[in-house]
Symmetry: C2
Subunit: 376 residues, 2 copies
């Protein structure tokens, strides 16, 4: 948590549940990403936190944007982003969304299937397209499964078809999985991408774009490699695979841009022991899995949690949300410890919640409204 | 799907994604529940679908209401429910929520821990309280885990403490788990509850209320026992456990009241094959796990799905949502079949989605807005 956020909490004006985001930390993360990968264009993954103040700040810094939907494209344009600074990165798009984006000047579209390619050719004639490869996501805490991406051989055929449909076969992309903590995850993927480049060069198509995707981690409870280590590993792999003929590079950081810029301020609703043979204290917060902490599903993302101002001994704790839903439990298996004196009304902070929290929040499950958002 | 909903869809005015609910079916379900358990007061579990038209209709039918939050209490009162017709059924409540409910005339509160009891005693002096027991939830498709409820011995101590705190020790409750398809699930639970009644009678406290909870199923893909079978099994167990001195009975149906009154209208965004060695077609809809279909987590609730108007052979299908999130996949393991000719732009209906859909929907994950709601 940054000093600015700590001061705002201390001021006592925050009603819970709330998400606070320090925009200066977002700017610092943007600078660190640029320094780590100076050869790559930065396309912020809007889905991580689509709030207007975040987009405004990033537009001012010269960021570009990766959008998952026409609603995100509209939000970026409203924040002042140039259409040429946008990539429509979801490989699954309605034809109406493609057409509206194209009409507004967006010219770069992702795809990974024949049907999507046909939609883009019809709704955005002549646009630049890149094909998403399916690559290994070992080492990611929030992998993206087989929902997206295709094989190198199919990508080659699809990009040839793109040219025949009058589109610009512009490049390839991949995604190594979100909260990817292994710097080596990129090496194989970059090699696969380079093979598509050389296959297509032999067919008369010069691809230009290598989209390295997102997945760069933020620090939760465990240390992660510095972003510079990812930059070094990626550039070494790119040079090994492409030699001196480097493609245009693009990255789509989301979590690494805003995750550690945020903190959730929550209130304990109830703290009690549930069974005599279990020394763990059940702590029910006024934010839960359906109030934004969706990435605690399967306890995949393990946030640092603190209770400032509550002292004394700690006991093992189970963390649950406020709803009547039995699956609304954040941590039951992961060991957490909280003060034994913690009681209803006390404040609990959930750290590094700037990414993938606010937008997941339900519109009103069990009547609970989404957390209030403060951008400072 | 009811004929009224089918006509509304055929009229062609529905933009997707949308949830349509037939209020006449809600009324029919209310009548069926009343007929199946004429001795039980019906407290609709608002969390299943808190829309004002549903609450209005149920107020008109004489229903009572089980609320999970102060927001739900306010919604019921706004719909015209009498405060005496409300139960604040969440065992985890902010003290401020208890106080507001009590000030508005609500007089019946659930609890299952010392701390909650102390909050109720302080914020709702003299109110009626009932203690929730933890019981087996075998047979439920959406169990409620160990998040709620306590042992019979602890419930006895807590109800004695309630009396000493000036509250009315009014009864006990339990919940056999949501979408509970076993009619025998109640027998053991009712026996446990009866033991608390007799323990407390020996201590000079006459409990009055046996809250049988919710969990009554709705029909998804598999047949379920008729609601009358649950009524018969429950009343047989109550008579066996309580003899002629029957307690006041209360049920909290949610899913059984509104589930089969609703249908989701969705559009195919993309249909494609993902791997050459997999004959399953990936069908991406414009509604997914974060657009309301949250109960497909772990493929727990398996909705019936159809594509009216699309004919021809069927193939195995994987069903996924529209977002860039890899976990936004509804069914990958459960066998589903959809027409091989299904393509982007076609309509797909997801049946029996009147309960536990709209309120789960995220406020805008990936930019996608919650489904539109139509109450007919």
């Amino acid at each position: 948590m940054t000093p600015k956020l700590a001061r705002f909490i201390d001021s006592g004006v925050v009603a819970t549940p709330a998400i606070l985001v320090d925009l200066d930390r977002v700017a610092a993360n943007f600078a660190a990403l640029r320094a780590a990968l100076p050869d790559a264009a930065i396309y912020y993954a809007v889905k991580a936190n689509p709030a207007a103040p975040v987009l405004d700040r990033l537009v001012g810094l010269g960021s570009r944007f990766d959008a998952a939907s026409i609603e995100e494209i509209r939000a970026c344009l409203a924040a002042g982003a140039a259409p040429a600074a946008l990539s429509f990165g979801n490989t699954v798009k309605k034809r109406s969304a493609i057409a509206e984006a194209f009409a507004r000047g967006v010219d770069l579209f992702a795809f990974d299937s024949d049907e999507e390619l046909a939609k883009i050719a019809a709704a955005a004639p002549g646009a630049k397209v890149y094909c998403r490869l399916a690559v290994s996501q070992d080492g990611a805490d929030w992998p993206l499964s087989r929902k997206f991406g295709t094989t190198g051989a199919h990508a080659r055929d699809l990009l040839l078809a793109a040219r025949d449909l009058g589109l610009v076969a512009h490049g390839v992309s991949f995604h190594v999985g979100s909260q990817q903590t292994g710097v080596g995850a990129y090496q194989t993927a970059i090699g696969q991408a380079a093979m598509v480049f050389s296959d297509l060069r032999a067919r008369g198509i010069d691809l230009r774009l290598l989209n390295l995707g997102g997945g760069f981690p933020t620090r939760y409870r465990e240390d992660i490699p510095p972003i510079a280590a990812f930059g070094d590993a990626i550039m070494a792999s790119v040079r090994a695979a492409f030699g001196n003929d480097l493609p245009d590079l693009l990255i789509e950081p989301g979590r690494a841009m805003v995750g550690d810029a945020g903190v959730a301020v929550s209130e304990v609703v109830l703290a009690c022991n549930r069974r005599e043979d279990d020394d763990r204290r059940w702590v029910y917060l006024d934010i839960g899995r359906f109030g934004g902490l969706a990435e605690t599903e399967g306890e995949a993302i393990r946030y640092a949690i603190s209770a400032p101002g509550v002292g004394g001994d700690e006991t093992p704790a189970v963390l649950a949300g406020p709803s009547c839903d039995g699956v609304d439990v954040m941590y039951r298996e992961t060991p957490y410890r909280l003060p034994a004196a913690l009681k209803s009304g006390d404040r609990v902070l959930i750290h590094d919640t700037g990414a993938y929290v606010t937008s997941y929040a339900s519109q009103g499950f069990n009547g609970f409204l989404p957390p209030q958002e403060h951008y400072l």
